[in-house]
């Protein structure tokens, strides 16, 4: 395989190619951010939902669950949990977690959330359930 193969040309191709594709990526990201409002239901984000997100984060729910498929695979997907069990079902489940866990079973800690915090986390999960995720997950089981 004869042919010239110089380091300087390889370097030029590296810088040219990576800058080119980085600009393409930025352009697409700009278009995505511009097109998002039609898909992410941001108009439904109330202070209660914001509070719910903070509870979601400070209890490290992502450490066991997935949200829209991203996170840990130890416990069920929660992006569509309100659609699956309804708001009351979710609240009942959270409050009824035994402090010492269930013998032999994967156990969720008892977070002792106040009534307000329960409202907030449920509102957050309800909001996430309304995001247009291109019809993911495949079914209600998530």
């Amino acid at each position: 395989m004869s042919g010239v193969f110089t380091k300087s040309m390889a370097r030029n191709v590296f810088y040219g190619g990576s800058v080119f594709f980085f600009l393409l990526f930025l352009g697409l990201t700009f278009d995505t951010v511009r097109a998002l409002p039609k898909r992410d239901m941001r108009h439904n984000i109330t202070p209660l939902v914001a509070e719910g997100k903070k509870i979601w984060e400070t209890r490290n729910c992502i450490g066991c669950h997935t949200l829209l498929g991203e996170g840990a695979y130890f416990a069920p997907e929660l992006g569509n949990v309100v659609a699956r069990y309804g708001e009351e079902g979710v609240k009942a489940f959270i409050t009824s977690r035994p402090a010492d866990g269930i013998p032999g079973r994967r156990s969720m800690p008892q977070f002792n959330l106040t009534e307000r915090e329960l409202e907030a986390i449920t509102a957050f999960l309800k909001h996430v359930g309304t995001i247009d995720t291109a019809k993911w997950p495949p079914n209600i089981q998530g």
Binding site: L36, D40, P109
Partner: protein, 460 residues
């Protein structure tokens, strides 16, 4: 070891291996929790063990990268490190931040840790891989910048080579993309979108530059092939990496609320992402076959070749397995993702660090290579860890396929936990593979202490 300041790399490597052992122990705890649900509950719930497992992984890999930089930059730039003292100070700061963070995870409930560490000021906690409290995140930024300053000053006052410039590019990219960890909008879609700047553009972007530079350095030293050839191929490989990896970020934008054109762009470009890993493997084998000297450190050569193969298998093949949108629709958020995660991280970044450590440690201890006995033990550890990782990945892939069938494809889809009970067998087999992996790791540790006459260095 041509420059005395390269000795600064030694504590970094030691810390890296120490944290690696910690990471594997917590991996075993989690593996057991998958089958014995309430193991160590409520003392160490699964999410806490996971935080420790994933954070230790990232921290020890960063220790490895920094150690590698402190080792190879002086040698590449043919000048002493700008400030060895600064490097040692940063070592203790970073180690302290890491240990304190892990203690914080284990000692107090996460919500309390958040309150104690000023999460109310700036909410950055509670996201996967970015669970660190605010002070730790700020500490990471300070350490990273000071480290980069130290390394960049060394390169500026010395010889500029492709390897050191590519390494710098990778390390600066790493630091810059980490800044997105401080961006945590209330809008979940935006939050996830830019979260991937820290995760994807690390492991499928700038980290591959760091991997390329480290592997190229080790290959030059081991094979003696002249620098021109190796550096040309390095440029070609990292070009392919960024060309495919940047738009490849799209394969994370399929189902998180971002527009659906990402399903096409993400699939097409991430489908090409295995190519640089394939080129890396061909490159590594090519260089070793055309070697112009017989380097006594056979173990390091094995690690270097293994890095190519396992990164192609783990990141390339197992990545391609579930990167196309129609497939990812079913595998998203299943054990298939976990399988890819394990083998990709091990094959690419764990192994390149072990390659570097296996090459540099004997030199840091004053000999060209370890004794025959020690190298044989190290090769045992290579095969034990690599094969057990392959089995972990196979078992998780099997669990994932069964999970997807039962939970998503079957005519009467079953709930998550019902499915998890039915795939428990694979989790048991994964746990046993994990134990063998630990055995391999302990063999790796032992290989440093198994004495005996070091192999006399025939070539220079």
């Amino acid at each position: 070891m041509q420059y005395s300041s390269q000795a600064v790399a030694k504590p970094y490597f030691v810390a890296a291996i120490g944290l690696f052992v910690g990471q594997i122990i917590f991996g075993l705890i989690m593996g057991l929790q998958y089958v014995i649900g309430d193991f160590l509950f409520p003392a160490i719930p699964f999410n806490v063990a996971r935080m420790v497992h994933t954070n230790l992984l990232i921290v020890w890999l960063l220790f490895g990268f920094m150690g590698a930089a402190y080792y190879l930059v002086p040698e590449e730039s043919e000048t002493e490190l700008w400030s060895p003292k600064l490097a040692i100070v940063l070592f203790w700061v970073f180690l302290a931040a890491g240990v304190l963070t892990v203690i914080g995870y284990l000692a107090v409930p996460y919500a309390t840790l958040a309150k104690l560490t000023g999460n109310d000021l700036l909410e950055t906690m509670g996201r996967e891989f970015l669970e660190q409290p605010l002070p730790t995140k700020l500490g990471i930024v300070v350490v990273a910048l000071a480290f980069l300053f130290n390394i960049t000053m060394t390169v500026l006052k010395g010889r500029k080579t492709v390897i050191s410039s590519v390494l710098l590019l990778g390390l600066w990219g790493l630091a810059i993309f980490f800044l997105f960890a401080f961006y945590n909008p209330v809008n979940v879609v935006l939050d996830k979108m830019f979260w991937w700047y820290v995760v994807h553009l690390w492991v499928e972007g700038v980290w591959e530059l760091i991997l390329g530079a480290m592997l190229a350095f080790v290959l030059i030293k081991i094979t003696g092939v002249d620098r021109e050839v190796i550096e040309k191929w390095l440029y070609v490989i990292i070009t392919l990496t960024l060309v495919t990896g940047l738009l490849g970020t799209g394969h994370h934008y399929f189902w998180i609320g971002t527009p659906e054109y990402w399903q096409w762009i993400g699939s097409v470009f991430s489908a090409l992402e295995p190519i640089p890993f394939f080129a890396l493997t061909v490159f590594a084998f090519n260089m070793v076959n055309r070697r112009r000297r017989e380097h006594p450190n056979k173990a390091a050569t094995l690690w270097a070749l293994g890095t190519g193969v396992m990164s192609f298998l783990g990141a390339g093949v197992w990545g391609f397995l579930h990167t196309l949108a129609p497939v990812n629709y079913y595998t998203h958020g299943s054990q298939i993702t976990a399988a890819h995660g394990h083998m990709a991280f091990y094959g690419a970044y764990v192994m390149v660090n072990l390659t570097m450590i296996s090459y540099a440690m004997p030199l840091l201890r004053g000999r060209q290579a370890n004794s025959e006995k020690s190298q044989v033990l190290e090769m045992w550890s290579f095969w034990l860890m690599t094969v057990s990782m392959v089995f972990i990945t196979l078992f998780l892939t099997a669990a994932g396929i069964l999970q997807i069938w039962l939970q998503r494809i079957a005519s009467d889809p079953q709930p998550f936990m019902v499915v998890q009970d039915q795939v428990a067998l694979f989790y048991w087999m994964r746990e046993w593979s994990g134990v063998i992996f630990l055995a391999g790791l302990l063999a790796y540790l032992a290989s440093f202490f198994v004495g005996g006459k070091p192999a006399e260095a025939r070539a220079s």
